[in-house]
Homo-oligomer: 235 residues x 2
Amino acid sequence: MSRVLYDLCGIDTALRFSPFCWRVRMALAHKGLDVETRPWRFTEKDALSFAEHDKVPVLVDGDTVVTESYDILCYLDRTYPEAPLVGDALAESRARFFKHYAERSLAPPIMAIIIMDLLNAIHPDDRAYFRETREKRFGRTLEEVHSPVRGLSQLDTALAPLRGRLEEAPFLDGDAPGAADYLVFGNFMWARCVSTADLVSNADPVHAWLERMLDLHDGLGRQATRITDIQDAYR
Amino acid sequence: MSRVLYDLCGIDTALRFSPFCWRVRMALAHKGLDVETRPWRFTEKDALSFAEHDKVPVLVDGDTVVTESYDILCYLDRTYPEAPLVGDALAESRARFFKHYAERSLAPPIMAIIIMDLLNAIHPDDRAYFRETREKRFGRTLEEVHSPVRGLSQLDTALAPLRGRLEEAPFLDGDAPGAADYLVFGNFMWARCVSTADLVSNADPVHAWLERMLDLHDGLGRQATRITDIQDAYR
């Protein structure tokens, strides 16, 4: 059966930096499922019209089309019950909190740190679209959002509960990684692929967790192409 | 079988404001278990020596003594499996994140808002102990910790993921409350009992959730004695 994931790419088709696509790539690897990742750019809306959707990730699993990263994780649990990601009803309810924590507590400060790196990593043909949609969303220019020192300080505060949890267990989901880990890890892959900024210090339990996450599934995250792997990426 | 909870009290034995004790009171009510709450003050260490512990909550359930609020919730699930609080292994792992979120993301800004009210609510005989232990813990005087405007701003930021979750479900644990709700709600009962500060606006989904939480279990939280119920509390 064919399995295809439409996956955001940047200046190079190998540069894959979407935090939402990274959730799905890690989740597919967690389930031991092969996938062909198909590079997609922000402005290639037509390529997704079959899914009646306008952004990635889009997973095509045989005859089934699934959109939205969180819904894809739930779909994977329903369809491939081995190695649960979100788990049963109560566990799934709590997994949703990690989604919101990743998107509302971690993403804004990380965005403030990496936004100009992110713009640089995006394909030139996509940059006007990115600027227009994000400036509308934020109500500010990208240059006004850019505030790395404040971002690092706010990220440090936002990481406090993650740190607490990782002082007592190797993964957010306990002895082994699960949906909670992947939901949060996507944000860090986003930053890692487009930027060289250090988001957490080496002494932070979050750092040790990130190293473990990068090693998972034959080093899927660690081997991902970064902006520094691309010749002339900084022009 | 007798069941006793040692429960922190303040200037009046009816004033019960410990966020950790509130977790346990809500959890016991969730299980439908009766309990005698026994008022205890910070400096009455001898009264807890039987438990080889120096702070509350301490639950005495027949012949069993359990300390630490989170451990008490786990104990209740093991001993009274109906109406799960923390749930199975994966759900329980995620419940721990709410414990850290409550203690590390919410408690510090709430402390900055209510600390002088809190001092006023504590029994006069306990105030020197409270000041000494907290100033040592914070590395600052209570007056320096007191920063209500900054606290409200930081609390607003910290509540973002809670707000996201409560926009999609009535409780953090979904259609019905569970450990995640009680772990976080304790902080709000702490503030409610000692202070009149408004922590969230009426329009906030967190506010609507608090109203639901106050109504649970025959209005256990709503009926709790507040500082404003005590004559001459502000002297």
